[in-house]
């Protein structure tokens, strides 16, 4: 992707199948120009992870992904010594004094690279996605600080490994806990929200182009109606797209009550939510489709 201007970034992202809004395009652009990590927050399913993937496609860089979870530690995220191989090396013995062996088994040959290390050590520039950072504990966040500000990792036995090329780093968070100030300070901040009606329509139609426009509009309107209810899990953009595909497969021309009830489970996935949605939205759909709601 040429990084000439915000508009070009937006175009490149669109070319990779991601319709970014102004802020998203601008922050992606700044991330490349300023070489700073981006922290993306927002409700589940608005395309936070997808943004990183699209960036990787648009820039032609490899995507290195670190999925965070509770209890994730350095060995899983940074690097680990290949213990078995080290043992073999020692057993294979051969000549050489202990010092030599020691130097040998703590060399890069015996290093197992985990995602963060892989992103840093890669000779080609990559996109590093650290997904759901809010799932980890604060200690892990603290460990990330060195990586995010200097793009380097310190290994006691080997010394510092610095990035030769600047990776684009994208961190995503569902806001399930407050991230530390120190982490936020190092990042550009982007809040992604559910897209506006027109943009969501574009997204749906981008992914299922055969869907007629009127139906797409109707679909997005219904999805937005469902989102406005106080649900346990509001439908995400991915689910809108799934629903669009389902409607295509069902050969529906219109979303009426029957179609809605048959396919509702695509967008609503909680027992209690289903009841609520059927009650509130189902009723409104009772009549056949009119030119406007």
């Amino acid at each position: 992707m040429s990084d000439g201007s915000v508009a070009e970034t937006k175009e490149a992202l669109a070319g990779a199948g991601y319709l970014a809004d102004e802020p998203a395009a601008l922050v992606s652009f700044l991330a490349q120009r300023l070489e700073k990590p981006v922290l993306v927050e927002g409700p589940a399913g608005v395309g936070k992870t997808e943004l990183a993937k699209a960036l990787s496609r648009a820039t032609g860089r490899e995507l290195v992904r670190l999925q965070c979870y509770e209890g994730l530690d350095e060995a899983k995220a940074l690097y680990e010594w290949n213990y078995r191989k080290q043992l073999l090396r020692i057993q294979a013995g051969g000549s050489g004094a202990w010092d030599e062996v020691q130097d040998d088994i703590f060399s890069e040959e015996f290093l197992l690279e985990r995602p963060l290390m892989k992103a840093i050590a890669n000779p080609e520039p990559v996109v590093l996605l650290i997904d759901e950072i809010d799932k980890t504990d604060q200690e892990f966040e603290a460990m990330l600080l060195e990586l995010l500000s200097d793009f380097q990792i310190t290994i006691p036995e080997l010394g510092q490994v610095s990035a030769t090329t600047m990776p684009i780093v994208v961190l995503t968070s569902n806001n399930s806990r407050e991230l530390t100030e120190a982490l936020k300070r190092r990042c550009l901040y982007l809040w992604l929200d559910y897209p506006e009606l027109e943009r969501e329509m574009e997204i749906v139609r981008l992914h299922s182009p055969e869907l007629p426009e009127a139906l797409a509009r109707r679909l997005v309107e219904v999805v937005r109606m469902v989102r406005d209810l106080d649900l346990k899990k509001p439908p995400s953009i991915a689910e809108s797209i799934d629903w669009a595909r389902t409607l295509l497969l069902m050969g529906s021309e219109d979303i009426d009550k029957a179609t809605f009830e048959q396919s509702m489970s695509i967008i609503v996935k909680h027992r209690t939510d289903i009841d609520l949605v059927a009650e509130r939205v189902g009723v409104k759909l009772a009549d056949p489709l009119r030119p406007q709601a």
Partner: protein
């Protein structure tokens, strides 16, 4: 020469850098943590984007400075004032108005025609057109003499006059050909209306809108239980941390210690009666027994969610805590809090089995004191602290202030937290004054800042300045 146009804002040195620094300074005063590194980032980011686009400029700043949704909201509020009110500030300074031009435009249009044009502009999504029409609408509306002077109210009135509503169509156009306006589009128009009304207000009063109380107003307590509970919890968890560490800072500090004469004399026996070593009185952090009374009647509905979560947090921090909820009568809920860690469950259980759901919903403070005195008279002592969370609105019933006085005598300390601003105390059926004189402290408590201030006092600190 005194300027006739109100206080002139201090413009400071010229140039964007100074302006931006001033902006960050103001953000800091609103409570957003803007570090130097962030300001540097902002400058770097501005190097990369064209300044001619307002959106790019704003987003670039926001991405580098505002690092959460809350921050972003404050950022938006201040951004306009700093970067796009300059023209108005200048106009005020020079005393320029545009009354003439506007009235002319307003008279040429009748309201039906305007309605049509507005609808079209909204559907087209043409921002500039919308702005112009918003001004026309305001002018036309103002001529009818219906302006209330409150921006939010006026926006809604104008919207109604123009018969604009999301989705539904006005009756007169039932031919079915007109496209519906959706919520977003309407919001956009309302935003223009709001902006122009504010501009109008600035022109009329010749002062810029106040800068200061933004954060205060904005971070007021949630007014409905469905609103973001998480925000309250964040504030309370902060408070929890402060409660846990408060008092520790007092320990191990030499300064201000009191010599324990008895123990010093005792120690001096070792050295033949010469007091070589001074003994100090140990400083013990105050570990108070706390009794909390929480009003859960309808008049404080908005605050009770907040209060219950405060109670919840207090239970985590103090071992010796008994809590009561009341409307007409009191009911102890200590058990509920002790056995349940999840706040939602607590709230549910209190409303279902707290023993308060069966009454009329009107507070009877007098009766509450009588019952409380009967219940606690044995336990209250100089070490106990009583905290009342309520609005002191008795619904015209006997306040029994003297009973409250007895309570206050027995308890070591008695605090009152009132969810209403001080301004409203003693208006209507509020009898705050009658109770206040028995309290060791009465605080208004409708923002998290008020709460922190109060926590400071309870934990033995000095109240911070407001």
């Amino acid at each position: 020469m005194p300027t006739p146009y109100g206080p002139k804002p201090d413009l400071g040195p010229p140039g964007l850098a100074a302006k931006l620094l001033g902006f960050c300074e103001e953000l800091r005063s609103e409570g957003i943590a803007v570090g130097t590194s962030e300001i540097l980032d902002a400058f770097e980011a501005l190097d990369q984007v064209p300044w001619t686009s307002q959106d790019d400029f704003r987003e670039a700043l926001a991405a580098t400075i505002a690092k959460s949704q809350d921050d972003r909201r404050l950022f938006e509020l201040l951004f306009d004032r700093w970067f796009f009110r300059s023209a108005e500030a200048e106009a005020i300074e020079r005393g320029i108005g545009e009354e003439g031009a506007r009235r002319e435009g307003g008279e040429r249009l009748d309201i039906d025609e305007l309605r049509e044009q507005v609808r079209e502009a909204i559907l087209e999504g043409d921002e500039n057109e919308m702005r112009d029409l918003a001004r026309l609408a305001i002018a036309a509306f103002g001529r009818q003499g219906e302006g209330s002077g409150v921006v939010g109210v006026d926006v809604q009135r104008i919207r109604r006059t123009l018969e604009l509503s999301a989705g539904a169509q006005p009756q007169g156009e039932a031919d079915g050909e007109v496209r519906a306006i959706d919520r977003d589009q309407l919001n956009r128009f309302e935003r223009h209306l709001r902006r122009e009304l504010e501009r109008d207000l600035i022109e009329r009063t010749e002062t810029l809108p106040p800068a200061r109380p933004l954060a205060e107003l904005d971070r007021a307590l949630p007014t409905s239980p469905t609103q973001d509970l998480a925000a309250v919890h964040r504030a309370v968890s902060q408070m929890k941390r402060r409660l846990a560490t408060l008092g520790h800072e007092q320990r191990g500090r030499r300064k201000g210690q009191i010599v324990d004469v008895r123990r010093t004399m005792r120690a001096s026996l070792e050295t033949g009666g010469v007091p070589l070593r001074l003994r100090y009185r140990p400083k013990r952090p105050r570990r108070p027994e706390i009794y909390v009374l929480c009003d859960v009647s309808t008049s404080v509905t908005s605050a009770s969610v907040f209060f219950l979560s405060v109670l919840h947090a207090l239970h985590d921090s103090f071992r010796k805590l008994r809590s009561f909820v009341f409307i007409e009568r009191i009911s102890e809920v200590t058990e509920v809090f002790e056995h349940e860690r999840d706040f939602r469950v607590v709230a549910e259980r209190i409303s279902s089995e707290g023993g308060v759901a069966d009454v009329s919903g009107y507070t009877d403070y007098g009766r509450v004191w009588l019952e409380l005195l009967a219940e606690l008279s044995e336990d209250l002592g100089p070490r106990s602290t009583v905290i009342v969370l309520g609005d002191a609105r008795t619904n015209g019933r006997e306040p029994h202030a003297e009973v409250f006085g007895q309570l206050s005598e027995r308890a070591g300390r008695l605090f009152w937290l009132n969810p209403e601003p001080k301004l409203y105390w003693n208006y209507g059926d509020s009898v705050m004054a009658a109770y206040e004189r028995y309290c060791d402290g009465a605080f208004e408590c409708w923002t998290t800042r008020h709460l922190e201030n109060f926590v400071n006092v309870v934990a033995g600190g000095i109240p911070s300045e407001d």
